[in-house]
Subunit: 383 residues, 2 copies
């Protein structure tokens, strides 16, 4: 169900010929109201793709009636011609739906530096508009897949309100720079400002803590649309908490489907002086190729963890760090402690705990191991 | 010849049993004077190995009569017992050579979190002291090898002065966190302050611009010792220029021997507002696993370069960047330009040029591609 689980939304997914395989590649999600509040967050990469340049302007109205998403081409680094395609996509979708183009968000994913065939794409938009259905969530979630092996969907209901979402990609990991696209819908009646506040809190504690391979996409977009159909205005704190859980659910689905990965690794930093310190330490370890290779090799090499911690500016005493791998405290006071020999790294889930002994804050970063399959998949495709 | 090319130095390399293979693993380099000026730079990792903790204190005297180096164990994260071994190493070497322990630098490389057998190591120091020879440079350079496939040596002579050096590792790339150890000797008569200034300039423009896999070692050391035997005090600017060239020579030898690498990649950023901007942009690209996988796959994927540039704070217009691969300007004004099809990525040497159009500064960062062999070598060893 995903994006059509909430009342007031229709969706579709069709094959427009952008993918050489003939698989579905254009999705449309429409908000039938009564309200059209929306909020979005985008990649912080300064070299953004054309759909992001369009959508980040359009969302400043606080309203979105529809979003067109295509796979089979990221429309990134395609210059003025690429921006023109985005504009025509929004104009056509708006015309077909009877709304202004400014009310249409656009997302793209696929190869970068490649200009899609405009006629194929616009044909797909027409077909998607005809195929719209209140059961179309699954079809839409399939049409945005690139190297995803499964579609990612999640739904939560509480106090008469439903939130549903779909996602593609694996946060900053995949050929052609990944691209994480997420569309979340709700039938709650909330203002754009409330949606924006909830979405920023939720993404900061979910997608922003997913660092699969350290590479930042040019197209990342998380869009949240509210229809108001449930005629309920939930408590904002409760809505934010539920939205955060839904985002974490989708984020962990992305992590589990990351290309070539053998392990999902949760890096928890505890007793940090600040949350920022905890995040910086976790991200540093998540970006250590040596550590990630060790986990692939099922080698409990805690020294590589400490060496990454040492590259950060976080508050800690370098001689007094503790590290646990899957709950075994292999390092105490920056030296060897419990025997790592018994640690089972066969299973996909791995936990790392780093105790900074510098405060009371904690945070978790999720990452994957670095495998030969990752290198293969990211070197063998033809651009 | 390397470290014994300059007058006034003896060296040796012996097998002490630290390496399970029985290969040479302890090296000793001695400065017979008449002067004993010295300078050193160390890893900026906050979680440093015990030999670094010792040597960075000892070098504050501006004097060093000898350096003991061992492979087969990094003596890192080994706690107080590990520091004690360093201290005893310096004391024994000092006793054998008739100098104070404070005049003995110590460097280690190999696995981290592992305490070497003290008797083996001290036995090696004794044997190395007996084996000292004015032709011992080659033997010393062999004894510091870990996964290096060849020893790295370089010599320069000018105006009656000789500078010689040996190096091991590949800057921040190798099992057990790499470790780059470099010892440089000269028979010039220069003060410790002059050596320090020259060394900091030289390393900033050579080893510091080598970023093979983004992982920062815990043991990196570059030591420069002057004997004064040539009885020449060269012009400091000329000495610094020659030292810089020697360091670049050694750095490129490290790059060429980086584990599992198929390509050496020079990333030059031109027309930057500041040298810092140029370095930040180059380093960002050098740390993009997706870009490095593309080069391994011989795929001229310039979009991954632009996406990495976009993650920096450097001054530039995101819509007006040019990128060349092996001299072909595949991207102009942040869009496709010359056809990448003709670019030959079969050869090991690859050049990337990024034109920021924001100023007049330029800098080059050297890196390697990311290969399946890298992942294999860094996951398959047993810690």
């Amino acid at each position: 169900m995903s994006v059509t689980a909430a009342l007031g939304f229709r969706a579709s997914g069709v094959a427009a010929g952008l993918k050489s395989t003939g698989a579905p590649d254009v999705a449309l999600v429409v908000n039938d109201g009564p309200v059209s509040s929306a909020a979005a967050v985008f990649t912080s990469n300064r070299c953004k793709a054309n759909p992001v340049l369009w959508s980040e302007k359009a969302i400043t109205t606080g309203s979105a009636r529809a979003v067109v998403l295509n796979s089979g081409g990221a429309n990134c680094y395609t210059g003025a011609a690429g921006f023109q395609i985005v504009h025509e996509t929004a104009e056509l979708a708006g015309e077909l739906l009877g709304v202004g183009p400014i009310d249409v968000q656009v997302c793209s994913t696929g190869l970068i530096g490649l200009l899609n065939d405009k006629d194929d794409l616009l044909g797909g938009v027409r077909e998607a508009a005809s195929a719209l259905s209140a059961d179309g969530g699954a079809a839409a979630s399939t049409a945005i897949m690139t190297t995803d092996t499964v579609s990612k969907q999640a739904v939560r209901t509480f106090e008469g309100v439903t939130i549903g979402g779909m996602a593609k990609g694996a946060g900053m990991l995949a050929p052609a720079l990944a691209t994480m696209l997420v569309v979340i819908t709700t039938d709650a009646d909330l203002s754009a400002a409330d949606l924006d506040a909830a979405l920023r809190t939720a993404t900061a504690r979910s997608f922003d803590r997913l660092d699969s391979d350290g590479c930042q996409s040019t197209n990342d977009t998380v869009l949240l649309m509210a229809s108001g159909s449930a005629e309920v205005t939930p408590d904002l704190a409760e809505f934010t908490a539920q939205l955060t859980e839904l985002c974490r659910d989708l984020a962990l689905q992305l992590l589990a489907d990351a290309e070539g990965a053998d392990h999902e690794i949760a890096i928890e930093t505890v007793n940090a002086a600040t949350e920022e310190d905890a995040l910086a330490v976790g991200r540093s370890v998540a970006r250590s190729n040596l550590f990630k290779c060790a986990i692939f090799g099922k080698d409990p090499n805690w020294g590589r963890i400490l060496a990454s911690v040492g590259t950060t500016d976080a508050a800690f005493d370098p001689a007094d760090l503790d590290v646990a791998l899957n709950g075994v405290w292999v390092c105490r006071n920056s030296g060897p402690a419990e025997d790592p020999a018994g640690i089972d790294l066969e299973q996909r889930a791995v936990s790392v705990t780093i105790d900074l002994k510098a405060g009371k804050e904690a945070a978790t970063i999720w990452t994957n191991d670095l495998t030969q399959a990752y290198v293969h998949e990211n070197s063998a495709y033809s651009s």
